[in-house]
């Protein structure tokens, strides 16, 4: 080697060479992955029964939190349909006149947590009662209208039970208000239950994800144990440790991906099986209920997340086991 600086042509030639060797390296790497991915898939399909068992275990384990999530979402929707959309009835003290009622309605209507306020006059109340069977005779016996003004306050949709409760308290404190009637307390209990349910789903998802990692890990462990001889041959002909490990990592990804797909399909099947009964419930509730489907992103994210879990399981076990093989 001389100290003479390279001529531009030499430098260009060297650059081109290093680019070529770099692109060969990348192509070789990509080819390794392509080969490992297809080889591991081939092995999985080569023993369909065992693969099916592993995939089914992962699929059913992951379908469980999805099913709970579906159930919870629908209970929440029912709660929303029956509870949150209900107006709070504010009964004014007897003797409050039309002007006072309108004034109060206006001031309540300006609250940030209120969507709408309608004023129902005593006459409207009387008419409603009169329309009901059996009351008209009794009403005629009254000298004057005993009914108070009633404000129907519709809370904003976005309010949770606590905020509705705050609104109710505020309304109760109004001087001219006699009584406030709302369905908040059962709503609050439902929300508390739903909160608990959500926590249970989260814990369940965590535990069953761990189970999926272990299932894949164990399957890969058995697979590697059965291929000790093959691994030895691969190492003798110059395979690096990462090359030896790669098909097992892909196997983990395939197990996870297929298991996740099964979980999503099972969840959709559960969803479809709920359509008919919910339809009947819907009819009974005058069209206010409909089934809340699992969001598409969750159905798509489940196989992806599950593939990641499979990879993690395969990665942990293969690292540990190949180290033991030396």
């Amino acid at each position: 080697m001389s100290d003479r600086p390279d001529t531009p042509a030499e430098a260009a030639g060297r650059d081109a060479r290093s680019r070529r060797s770099e692109s060969r390296r990348v192509a070789g790497w990509a080819e390794h992955h392509r080969w490992s991915a297809s080889a591991s898939l081939g092995r999985l399909l080569g023993r369909p029964f065992g693969t099916l068992m592993t995939v089914a275990v992962i699929g059913l384990a992951l379908a469980l939190p999805l099913a709970f999530y579906l159930l919870l979402g629908n209970v929440q929707r029912m709660g929303d349909a029956m509870g949150q959309r209900q107006a709070v009835s504010v009964f004014l003290k007897p003797g409050q006149g039309d002007a006072a009622a309108q004034l109060l309605a206006k001031s309540i209507g300006e609250r940030a947590d209120v969507a709408a306020v309608t004023v129902r006059t005593p006459q409207q109340g009387m008419d409603e009662l009169a329309a009901m069977q059996g009351f008209s005779g009794a009403l005629h016996a009254l000298d004057d209208n005993p009914l108070p003004y009633v404000l129907q306050v519709m809370p904003k949709d976005a309010l949770d039970a606590g905020a509705v409760q705050d609104l109710v308290t505020a309304l109760r404190d109004e001087r001219s208000v006699d009584m406030v009637q709302d369905s908040g307390s059962w709503r609050q209990r439902l929300d508390a239950l739903l909160g608990l349910g959500n926590r249970i789903v989260a814990v369940l998802a965590l535990l069953l994800s761990l189970a999926a990692v272990l299932v894949v890990g164990n399957t890969v462990r058995v697979d590697i144990a059965g291929r000790v001889e093959e691994i030895g041959v691969l190492m003798l002909v110059g395979a690096s440790r990462s090359f030896v490990r790669r098909p097992y990592l892909y196997a983990g990804i395939w197990y996870g991906l297929l298991g996740g797909l099964v979980a999503s399909l099972v969840a959709v099947a559960i969803e479809l099986s709920l359509v008919a009964p919910v339809e009947r419930l819907n009819a009974a509730y005058a069209g206010k209920l409909s089934i809340g489907a699992l969001p598409l992103w969750l159905l798509l994210a489940t196989p992806v997340a599950s593939a990641v879990l499979g990879w993690v399981g395969a990665r942990l076990v293969s690292a540990w086991q190949l180290r033991r093989l030396g």
């Binding site: 192509a27 041959v233 003798l236 110059g238």
Partner: protein, 225 residues
């Protein structure tokens, strides 16, 4: 190509398989390593492929000091060496083609190029017609030839073989040794461990004789009677 400098290998059991061994094999040379069983033939080959490490001394391969090759460098080193084993070491659940293809897959070659080279190697050992078969459907001699095709498919500069004719009848053994001689003719350095003296004598190549891990004779090709 190969240089052993005062190399000793003592196993953990205390057995010294190789004792202060020094010898060289030139580029493109073919040599036999022979001796009784336990003379250290296999250990010598294992040291070259870094399946074992020497306890003392230095081994150079193609100018590279093997003592400086770390764990991570072993795969790369082995890709430069074609290895043939007495028990073939084939993957029994893969076809002949897939077995021979392995070193090329590890080398990261594209499928089309792999196919060409695998077929060329199989043709060389006369097994092109068997590429889709599983190894157990072949005879021992044929399996050994699959092993040889796998060893040469990546065109290594060095080919080492440990008792490659150990399980073969004399006729097949001559054919296999002839194959090795052909690879030498195209420039590959070949080192074969064998205890089959009559066969070695027929080949008229250099012979290195070991006894209890020591070099006791080094006979040049032209001096082999």
């Amino acid at each position: 190509m190969i240089r052993f400098d005062q190399v000793s290998k003592r196993y953990e059991s205390g057995h010294e398989a190789i004792s202060q061994l020094s010898f060289e094999v030139g580029d493109g040379e073919m040599a036999f390593v022979t001796g009784h069983s336990g003379a250290g033939k296999s250990t010598l080959l294992k040291l070259l492929a870094l399946i074992e490490r020497p306890s003392h001394g230095q081994i150079h391969l193609d100018g590279q000091n093997l003592g400086k090759v770390g764990r991570g460098g072993i795969p790369k080193l082995r890709r430069r060496i074609g290895m043939v084993f007495q028990d073939h070491r084939l993957l029994m659940d893969r076809t002949v083609f897939d077995n021979v293809e392995l070193p090329l897959v590890i080398g990261g070659l594209a499928p089309a190029e792999r196919g060409k080279r695998v077929r060329a190697a199989l043709e060389k050992v006369g097994l092109l017609a068997y590429e889709r078969q599983l190894p157990d459907t072949l005879s021992t001699g044929e399996q050994q030839r699959v092993g040889i095709a796998r060893a040469i498919v990546a065109r290594p500069a060095l080919l080492i073989a440990d008792e490659p004719t150990g399980n073969l009848d004399p006729q097949l053994a001559v054919e296999i040794m002839g194959l090795f001689a052909e690879f030498q003719q195209v420039g590959t350095t070949v080192l074969v461990a064998s205890h089959d003296l009559p066969l070695i004598k027929r080949m008229k190549k250099r012979v290195v004789v070991l006894d209890h891990g020591r070099l006791v004779a080094d006979v040049a090709a032209q001096e082999v009677l």
